[in-house]
Symmetry: C2
Subunit: 483 residues, 2 copies
């Protein structure tokens, strides 16, 4: 049966890729309110395919755009104003035949169909929503994050249905969300409110990357995050910088002064107490990372492309990006940024700033420390508003379970290499919810590559890995039915 | 004759205002390449009216968009890339009858017909290019800066022609430029290359403001400026802040660190050597400023509207805005500033930063000091480009000449008050050229008000001052013919 499903997948590779391209053509940018209809269209596309391949109870679950209230360690509770919600796609197949007289295992498959914005558009070599093949890759926004990886699961399930008499050898629940790139609060609320509807023995998530080409990888830790805005206001209205320069406060300079005090020149975050809860990786984990094939100079040159790497002194790149919190400024709005010269003292400026968190930091506590510190260093003449836009917990997942062994065996068959265990610097908020709310062991089995340009222009997915991913998932699902 | 011209102006007030509104409807934003046709239309509008009232040799003079080369005190010369040029409007009347057997005085009248951009558009109470009367004011972009004030001169000349048998009692050259708001390099080159065509005994400029309502004012000093851009580059392309946060340099944080080191928390500019050439105002000037009707708290509340005024400790607001250099950030481009959250480490960020200069600072030297300092504090991993966009000299004009006395007498007749002598914090680059290249005594006789919202939303011109300005100019021109 496994062999037949693997053969089916191999014989249908071209069609699988064409279907993925159709999905990639839908500009489902979840953070852009004007794309709401496209986001829904992507959900319906996924739902239709799940129905076609044989999944049952396929439905869109509307997210109710709840107000998220975070309780910081001091100060008043933070109410995060809610966005228009995007639907989740749910499907299941829950009557697999018992194995050895025991109910078959239930696997929860998670993915997301929403994508990041595409700016700066002029840096794309081919349009982000016209999937284009070059050098064995598909280039498109969402190619690897996460439409391509999510589609691997759909196609693995199709291959099993098609070669198993229209049934599956295992129980499966599928939940595909449309708000991962905007914080995933809709699915988080659903997990809290309806844990029974996602109950499973193990969760399988393909939204991470392989450590190197051909090196099968399980991700066992993710950073959390808080995404914030600081709005600074000075004068009542924009003022002429000649007439008022020297008397009126400048919100852009104020934000610069604040930002310059958030991290020191060594990349160490200056917020008092921010590192108090940071748990160091275990000695075994650190030792394992040292054996990974990683060259900092090669990484600098091929992936980052800057003249020098930066970050906290005394930590390796892998430690800095996997196991240390960081703080980044994403953009600063306000004032005049057009061509030419406008001599204005802007009345307001707004900085978009996020922090990545690591175990055992919590978003609520970290945001409270940040807000308190930012307000304490507010320059004279300026009023500030510090807002939390969204948040996600850091996680470390257990590797001590039979599902991990099944996954490494499946990938060993496909890649003929031992699996490495890494962490990821990014955040998949739902993973924390699965572990905390559902108590479900979670496997982060991703097939992206480090240079796939996630969240950046020219995002791509290596087509060979798309197919290897499908085979790995087929083999994994077949092998865990009896656990 | 003077009385007749004054009467003519009074009898035609309503028409004068309607004509001004027609000019204000033309969106002649000189910094916006897409408005080039509108800018030219405004030039043609002014030229047609000068021709109609009786001025001679009316023509548009194309500006040849020269490359401006500034030679800093060290380092290579700076070539400022040129914009598309906007035409100047020239007109003259050079055969006034001799007075007492002596050739009549020649007055050079200067103004500009271009305007600032209008952003933020949503803060305008009426559309910027639909002139609207409210509470005795005309609201529109350019109402006071400088279309309204330039139109006073045209209407004063019309009043004299109309009541003087189609002649003027004085020789007049009129030069109205279309690039004042973008640095006025076209007219500066013209002054250098064709000084004879602008030769005059005195220059009259109405592009400044009265110190207070009803208080006739001559401006005797202006700050200069350098308008710059700092472009910071980090990684080759935008990167995912989760995957690369902690290793990739962040150009926005780098710019914040640089900006935070440009001014200290007391508003003192930190660039080494920047204050070396700053000349203090004379004791007499400082003493005179102390007698001006100025209340810092009232200014803060009614004009600035911030919770506190800022700037260098130890200097009054008038000193800080008139006689001290300042540094302002106008905006920062790059990265993600839209609604919602995008987790990107931007590959580049660009800050628009200007400095106001005071005598005896020079733009070339000040820019060289700034550039050298900025490059010296460049954070690790970042490459910088520091560019000069445009520049203008600071000026102090002489008050020791009969034209100043004639102007104060003319305004005394109109306002029944003594004229005060002030400086302006803004920059009118051409004034320095008139003084330096032409050796022409220059009068800055402005009729704006401090709350006219120059360069900001809801720019206005007090209509009564428009008419008082016309009468003052009529009386001034009539009285200086025999000097």
């Amino acid at each position: 049966m496994t062999i037949a499903a693997v053969e089916f997948a191999k014989n249908n590779q071209a069609r699988f890729v064409e279907e993925l391209k159709d999905l990639l053509r839908i500009p489902s940018i979840s953070t852009d309110p004007e794309r709401a209809a496209d986001v829904r269209r992507a959900a319906e596309f996924v739902a239709a395919e799940l129905r076609r391949i044989g999944m049952e109870n396929v439905k869109l679950i509307e997210t109710s755009t709840p107000e998220i209230v975070l309780a910081p360690c001091d100060g008043p509770a933070q109410v995060v104003s809610a966005r228009e919600g995007h639907p989740m796609v749910y499907a299941d197949y829950l009557h697999a035949a018992p194995v050895n007289g025991k109910a078959a295992t239930t696997v929860l498959v998670y993915g997301h169909y929403d994508v990041q914005p595409v700016e700066p558009l002029d840096e794309w070599l081919s349009p982000p929503f016209e999937p284009t093949e070059r050098d064995g890759n598909i280039y498109a926004r969402g190619a690897v994050d996460d439409k391509g990886q999510m589609w691997m699961h759909v196609k693995a399930l199709e291959s099993l249905f098609a070669t198993n008499g229209g049934t599956l050898p295992i129980n499966v629940r599928v939940i595909i969300e449309g708000e991962e790139e905007v914080g995933g609060e809709g699915i988080a609320a659903f997990v809290r409110e309806h844990p029974d509807q996602l109950r499973a023995d193990v969760a399988l998530v393909s939204d991470t990357e392989m450590f190197a080409p051909d090196l099968p990888t399980l991700c066992v830790g993710l950073r959390g995050m808080i995404y914030t805005e600081i709005e600074a206001r000075g004068a009542r209205t924009d003022l002429h910088s000649g007439m008022y320069g020297g008397a009126a406060p400048n919100p852009h300079i104020a934000l610069a002064q604040i930002i310059a005090q958030l991290k020191d020149s060594n990349g160490h975050i200056s917020i008092p107490g921010f590192y108090d809860k940071v748990a160091a990786p275990t000695a075994a984990e650190l030792a394992a990372w040292k054996t990974l094939p990683f060259d900092e100079e090669h990484y600098r040159e091929t992936e980052v492309g800057s003249i020098k790497l930066t970050g906290e002194a005394g930590f390796s790149v892998l430690e800095r990006t996997w196991a240390r919190p960081t703080l980044e400024v994403h953009g600063i709005a306000g004032g005049f940024t057009g061509a030419g010269a406008k001599t204005v003292i802007p009345a307001r400026a707004l900085a978009k700033i996020s922090m990545r968190l690591v175990p055992d930091q919590t978003p609520a506590e970290s945001f409270a420390l940040y807000k308190k510190y930012v307000e304490s260093i507010c320059p004279e003449g300026i009023t500030l508003e510090v807002r939390l836009i969204h948040a996600g917990d850091p996680v470390v997942v257990s590797t001590d379970n039979p599902y991990v062994r099944a996954a490494t065996e499946a990938m060993h068959t496909v890649f003929a290499k031992e699996t490495v265990f890494v962490r990821g610097g990014g955040s998949i908020p739902i993973v924390g919810d699965f572990i905390r709310e559902l108590g479900t062991p979670t496997l982060l089995m991703g097939f992206g590559l480090p240079d796939d340009n996630l969240h950046a222009p020219n995002e791509k997915f290596h087509i060979a890995n798309f197919h290897r991913g499908i085979e790995s998932i087929v083999r994994f699902l077949s092998s865990v039915a009896a656990i």
